[in-house]
């Protein structure tokens, strides 16, 4: 609303009232559409932080996955879904773009087993296998990242400014080929969170 008012104020002197109303209507439609989409499906990073464990800076993250009906339907029809959770540690440089010190990715593969009616979760980085009877349990499991080691804490000098980032997205490239063209153009399949950034403190 603040933004809308700002826009209204900015354009008050130079545009007609009709134009301002049009802009307002368009912005409201845009915001409603975004919120409705976010309500049905999407990935949100609820919290993310870091902790030093045994001289390693490790990250924790709580991620909320809201899969749409299409995603759930596909999973139950035997189509595996893969999620990439990307972590990055960056060093801030005043007159240059930030330097990426390290980047690591955790990939979870979700699949449904009709025989046992279970959902299988495979952490492709190390092959860890977990199975759950409910999809919500699966999403809760892959939404909790605990103490994922990132970088030696000695590298993070006290006088430097460091940031950590996390981002999650559904791997469309891992979907079956016939589904991919649709997935690229469908918002329901383009599940992705924005980069969540936090400053690393001593």
């Amino acid at each position: 609303m603040v933004f809308i008012m700002h826009v209204c104020k900015k354009h008050k002197d130079i545009t007609t009232g009709r134009k301002i109303i049009h802009i307002h209507v368009l912005l409201l439609i845009f915001l409603f559409s975004r919120s409705s989409i976010a309500a049905t499906h999407g990935i949100n990073i609820e919290s993310a932080d870091g902790v030093i464990i045994e001289n390693m800076y490790s990250v924790n993250a709580n991620i909320s996955y809201q899969l749409g009906n299409e995603n759930r339907n596909a999973l139950e029809h035997g189509i595996p879904l893969e999620f990439d959770i990307e972590f990055r540690i960056k060093k801030h440089r005043p007159w240059f773009w930030d330097k990426i010190l390290i980047s690591k990715t955790i990939t979870f593969r979700l699949e449904h087993q009709p025989l046992s009616r279970n959902f299988l979760v495979t952490r492709l980085n190390d092959g860890d296998l977990e199975q759950f009877q409910k999809l919500e349990d699966v999403l809760e499991y892959i939404g909790k990242i605990r103490n994922f080691p990132m970088i030696d804490s000695a590298i993070l000098e006290p006088d430097g400014i460091f940031f950590a980032q996390v981002k999650i997205h559904l791997k469309i490239e891992a979907l079956p080929a016939p589904l991919r063209p649709l997935a690229y153009i469908s918002s329901e399949w383009r599940l992705s969170s924005p980069w969540q950034t936090w400053m690393i403190k001593e």
Partner: protein, 736 residues
Amino acid sequence: MRKSGQLIFRTGVVLFFLMLSSLLMMSNALQDSSHFSDFYLGLLIFNTLGLLVLVVLITLNLKRLIKQLRNRIPGAKMTIRMVAMFTVLSVTPVLVVYYFSLDFLIRGIDNWFDLRVEQALNDSLDLSRQSLDTRMRDLLRRTKQMAEELSDITDATIPFEIDDMRMKSGAKELTLLTRQGTIISSSADDPFHLVPDRPSETILLQLQQGNNYTALDTIRNAGLHIRVVVNVPTFSMESEARIIQALYPVSERINQLAESVQDAFIKYKELSYLREQLKKSFVIILTLVLLFSIFSTVWAAFYTARRLVEPVSNLVKGTQEVAQGNYTTQIPVPGNDELGFLVASFNEMTRKIAQAQDAVSRSRHEAETQQAYLEAVLETLSSGVLVLDQDNKVRTYNSCAGQILGIPIASHIGHSIEDIAEEYLSFKQFKEGLELQLSSTHNNWREQIAITNSSGRIILMCSGTTLPGTHNMQQGHVIVIDDITALIQGQRNAAWSEVARRLAHEIKNPLTPIQLATERLRHKYLQGMRADDTDTFDRLTNTIIQQVEAMKDMVNSFTDFSSTPEINLQMTDINDLLKEVIDLYANLNSNAEIITRLSDNIPLMAADKGRLRQVFNNLLKNAFDACDRCKVFRLEISSDSMTENNQKFVEIKIKDSGTGITEDIMDRMFDPYATTKTKGTGLGLAIVKKIVEEHKGLVMLVNNSPGDGACAIVRLPVNELNDQKSENCAVNRKAI
């Protein structure tokens, strides 16, 4: 242009094969996701871009073709026809195949998903589940028994008992845990399996709620297992609640069968879910293949049509070049086929035409050389040559003919002699003199005719020859014209000189004895005669003496005429000379009206003053004699300077008001003894002509308007002293 065309063609061919491979890879990716699956989208984009490139190529070709059509480039229409024909012939069957393929494909995909197959797969899965459920129930019961047995055993003694219990139960792994998931003891059939499989938090939560857990689980690197987790009953409040987890292996056969059923079910469900997407993907690929085929065909049609039409358009261009006179046109031969033979024949034809053209050109050049040679020869002739065709039109001439006839004959080429005669009097006289000969059938003839041109009256000797014609038809005449005026005049002068010399010799000699004898007679007999005889004698002897004197004068005049004394040139002012002579005659007749118009621009010229004085003296004397008995005595004397053919002349005219010259003596006016006067020797004009010619000049006598006297015209060239002398020397040498 040709190189860039080759480059575009090669690029197109490479693109064709790349797109073909790409489409094959896409098809493969759809059928089996393990192959090229990762490149599916890239291949789709590549093929779409490839199609766009083909569209651009076709558009460029079409644009070029339309431009050629507008510019009426040969072969453009034929190219359009061929492209249209190729396109229709190739696209029609492709479209038919596309339609039926699409229909069969969609029907085929729908046929994959038969309800009976789906039911069978569901039944198979249920059967597998039922089978495993029975086994799971049995294992749950067995695990519960073990849990009851374990309830009496303390944690300290468990390690001694658990192996035995595991072996008895047939479990692969048996683990005793607290309800929080802490492992108390474990036993496994694999001694190297050190870390027991821990139940998940969800299972523990389920157990904490008092429920048991029995499920078919997939164990990492071990396949399907039946996991049974049950609570161990506790009888005392102090002891911690425990749970026992048993992992029972599924037999290898059942494992395989279950996996097989599950895989088939998953594959079927996946395909069922992707049915619409598969259809769309196949339609996309098939459409891409269709568009690829159509665009490739159209582009190939352009290329092929252009290749086929090129020799034809080259032939058209070549024909146009030949029509414009470029006979050196050669067209590249396309091959050994009929078209190649045609092009080779065209090249041979143009080569022969070029050779013939060269031969014609050479012949024309030779003819022109011959004509130039003939003209040069004709120009060097001192005789005039005139060639008439059968219609008496002037065909050929030389400049001498024009000079003799006194007409600009060059501007009358192709004109008939009748037309020219109407324009020029001299040519009219010439034509009238030759009319008889030209109409006669004689092949060779000679005719002497007299004409009057700007130089006066001249005598021409014309020799004619009939040109050979075909079919006995006369094709024209060659007339050779010689000006024989000077020759005749020379002959006459020579004859008269001989007469004068003989007269001087034969008459002058006896005259002196006659005169002397007469004088002696007078001296001897005059004084002794009677008075009446004396008068008669005196008169008679005086008459004899006077006549002898007169005869002596006449003979002296003849002597002067026949002799050629050396000319004495000096720079002379003609006006002064004229004034000097006019003064002599001014007081001769008081009735005479003498009008003098002497130009101030008369230059000095090399001349013999004495002889020119004699010329003017004779002419003025003639004029005075002519006007002697006239009522009006008017004499006009004029001098003028003029330039003709880059030669300066001084023209002197002496016009009298006498009776003029009769036509019968006009021809002989400058001959000796040609006179109408009763007195005189008749040599005055002959001497005038002789002196004027010695000065390279011209003298004419023409009548004024009828009854208005005559006019003597003397035209003298203006020469420097040296020039005149050298010319006279040359004339003298030539005469010698």
